[in-house]
């Protein structure tokens, strides 16, 4: 739109105060995002709900009499090479994948926001040192380092897996928050707050933080999608969840066997589709949020 003249009074891109309201309006307007959101809520409720009733140990027990059965019959979606029910693994796998992705997103979010806010707001030498540390983490080959740590950590659990992922994933959000904090702290409202006697902590968390909250929400939503992908990717390679805990990636990992890939599609295709749909849905919601918070892109 070629409308930047002073005389055209289009509502300025004012950051609107009630983020929730605008987000909701945008979601309702964006049908795709709304459908995605409903789908996400349903699938989450379903996998967490049904997982309560599923006998987990039964699903992961090897049954040599029912190896590689195609869909239909006793098992809705067939079985894998160990005779384990694909459908059951899909349910538990989705739950596990979601849990880890959410956990990692929250942990990286908290670390990233605090790190970025402190670094950007304090600035100077502190910022300099903190950014150097961050830069170092950023250049590490993420996938390899995580795999190495997964391989060498003793007493490996789902939680330690999440910690390892978090340790090498907090930098993106930290960097974004830091550059935003750098801008925001120079704005007059933050300066004004200091002249009104508010402490640095107050200015940081009570004044600046609310102004970057929408950015945080958007980034964390998009991160959630990415983390679902990363977790399943690592599990696919065999360095994600411990053996006994199925994940969506584990099911896809069976496809590393060319036989499975070529002839037993029922083992890996449902998991692939599920990951895809999950990531697309989360992304849809994330993009809608992004539009909602960026007035320039807001629809209508």
């Amino acid at each position: 739109m070629e409308m930047r003249n002073e005389n055209i009074d289009i509502p300025k891109p004012i950051k609107s105060p009630s983020t929730i309201k605008i987000i909701w309006r945008e979601l309702v307007r964006d049908k795709l995002a709304l459908v995605s959101l409903i789908f996400l809520v349903l699938i989450t409720a379903f996998v967490y709900g049904i997982a309560l009733f599923l006998d987990k140990s039964e699903i992961v027990t090897v049954d040599l009499f029912a190896i590689n059965e195609p869909p239909g019959g006793e098992f809705i979606l067939g079985t894998d090479y160990g005779g384990r029910d694909i459908f059951g693994q899909l349910i538990i796998g989705t739950r596990n994948s979601l849990s880890v992705a959410i956990l990692v997103t929250l942990m990286t979010g908290v670390i990233g926001v605090v790190y970025g806010l402190v670094s950007g707001y304090i600035g100077g030498t502190v910022d300099n040192i903190m950014m150097r540390i961050l830069d170092f983490f950023l250049i590490l080959p993420f996938l390899m380092i995580v795999i190495v740590f997964v391989a060498i950590v003793p007493k490996y659990t789902v939680f330690s897996f999440s910690l390892i992922m978090t340790a090498f994933l907090w930098m993106g959000i930290a960097r974004m928050i830091r550059s935003k904090a750098l801008q925001e702290k120079e704005l007059d409202y933050a300066q004004a707050s200091r002249t009104l006697g508010s402490s640095n902590l107050k200015v940081m968390f009570r004044q600046v933080l609310p102004n970057i909250s929408s950015l945080i929400i958007v980034t964390m939503t998009l991160n959630l999608a990415a983390n679902i992908g990363l977790e399943s990717g690592l599990s696919f390679l065999g360095f994600g969840f411990p053996e006994s805990t199925p994940s969506l990636g584990t099911l896809l990992g069976y496809a590393r066997n060319p036989q499975t890939l070529e002839f037993r599609w029922w083992i890996w295709v449902p998991a692939a589709v599920l990951i895809l749909v999950l990531m697309l849905s989360v992304n849809n919601v994330g993009q809608a949020l992004k539009r909602a918070t960026d007035a320039r892109q807001r629809r209508g």
Binding site: M1, E2, M3, N5, E6, N7, I8, D9, I10, G300
Partner: protein, 355 residues
């Protein structure tokens, strides 16, 4: 066919009678689309610019003065333009971009408000001035073109032209950048120069230098200049004639001495009284009530300034205000000016009335 001949005849005669006229705008209406409706930012504006004349256009933000400038230059992408704009007797409203490009940068040029954003950050100053010469004279050799660019840099008063030629915009100060913008604008010695708030972003000492430069250029080039600003001081110093714009319309137009000695329209008078004056002492400044309405909320009928002078009786306004020529060359919109008074005066008036 008949119509066409008539039109030609008309322009022919006008060409003889008003040989000094460079630009003639009639009933120009520039509308922007917001959601599904068009809103006129420039509404029924008519004016002329003569050779060797500075026409000042003054108004606050939202008055439509920049949209007017962009309409003349054909720089609006999606605006609807109605009415006529004749440049040297030829219509340039809604002509093709290719035709417009032959005029833009050659016969008419523009100076922009913010010299930093108006320059390409990744091109050297020399390249950017060079481009406008190249576009309108492709035959010129590179060497000659560079010579001309350096001459131009010199002309606008930048020291060390050869050195500046190689510099990037961010390496120059604000004043120097604005000189570069001016060098670009005058590169092909345009006959019409539009300066859109050319000094708003500059310090006052730099402003006076830039204004002096524009005055010199007018003398040298015999050009017609439209000077758009919100600063009455700049107008007083520079303009030959002045048009005051409010809410997309010209509310008053006169030569500069007449306008400053005898402003008539309530808006013009209010504007004069609200600016601190360095020459005389005022205890209090006049405050114009209300705010400039946004484009969507502009009153489209009646006197557009009426809501901001509510103490003036409605009957004082015209139903469809038009420009009235009070004395030759001095036009005022709406009849309300004849009954206008400032509210603080009104109290005294009332007292007088009682006693």
């Amino acid at each position: 066919m008949v119509l066409k001949i008539r039109k030609n005849k008309y322009t022919y005669f006008r060409g003889i009678n008003l040989s000094k006229t460079l630009l003639e705008i009639k009933n120009l209406k520039t509308s922007f689309r917001i959601n599904d409706d068009y809103y006129a930012a420039v509404d029924d504006v008519s004016l002329t610019v003569n050779k060797n004349e500075i026409l000042g256009i003054v108004g606050e933000s939202g008055s439509g003065k920049s949209a007017l400038a962009f309409s003349i230059m054909g720089l609006h992408n999606r605006a609807k333009i109605e009415g006529s704009i004749d440049f040297k007797g030829k219509s340039i409203a809604n002509i093709s971009t290719a035709k417009m490009n032959k005029l833009r940068g050659k016969d008419m040029a523009m100076i922009f408000q913010d010299p930093l954003t108006a320059l390409n950050p990744l091109m050297t100053v020399g390249e950017q001035i060079s481009e406008i010469i190249f576009l309108h004279n492709k035959g010129l050799s590179n060497k000659k073109r560079k010579g001309r660019v350096i001459q131009l840099i010199n002309q606008v008063g930048i020291p060390r032209p050869e050195h500046t030629y190689e510099q990037f915009p961010h390496e120059l100060s604000g004043g120097m950048r604005q000189r570069v913008i001016i060098a670009i604008a005058i590169a092909n010695q345009p006959e019409l120069l539009i300066a859109d708030e050319p000094t708003t972003a500059l310090d006052v000492t730099i402003q006076s230098q830039i204004l002096d430069l524009i005055k010199d250029l007018k003398k040298d080039m015999d050009a017609g200049i439209i000077l758009i600003t919100h600063d009455l001081g700049v107008i007083a110093e520079m303009a030959d004639r002045v048009a005051v714009m409010y809410a997309g319309q010209i509310v008053e137009i006169a030569d500069v001495h007449t306008l400053f000695e005898n402003p008539l329209h309530p808006y013009t008078r209010s504007l004069f009284n609200s600016v601190p004056n360095t020459n005389e002492h005022q205890d209090r400044l006049h405050v114009i009530q209300g705010i400039v309405p946004s484009l969507q909320n502009l009153p489209r009928t009646g006197c557009r300034f009426a809501t901001r002078i509510p103490w003036i009786d409605e009957s004082a306004h015209e139903k469809n205000p038009v420009l009235h020529e009070v004395i030759p060359g001095h036009y005022v919109r709406c009849t309300c000016h004849s009954q206008f008074y400032f509210p603080d005066e009104s109290k005294e008036d009332q007292k007088h009335g009682v006693s």
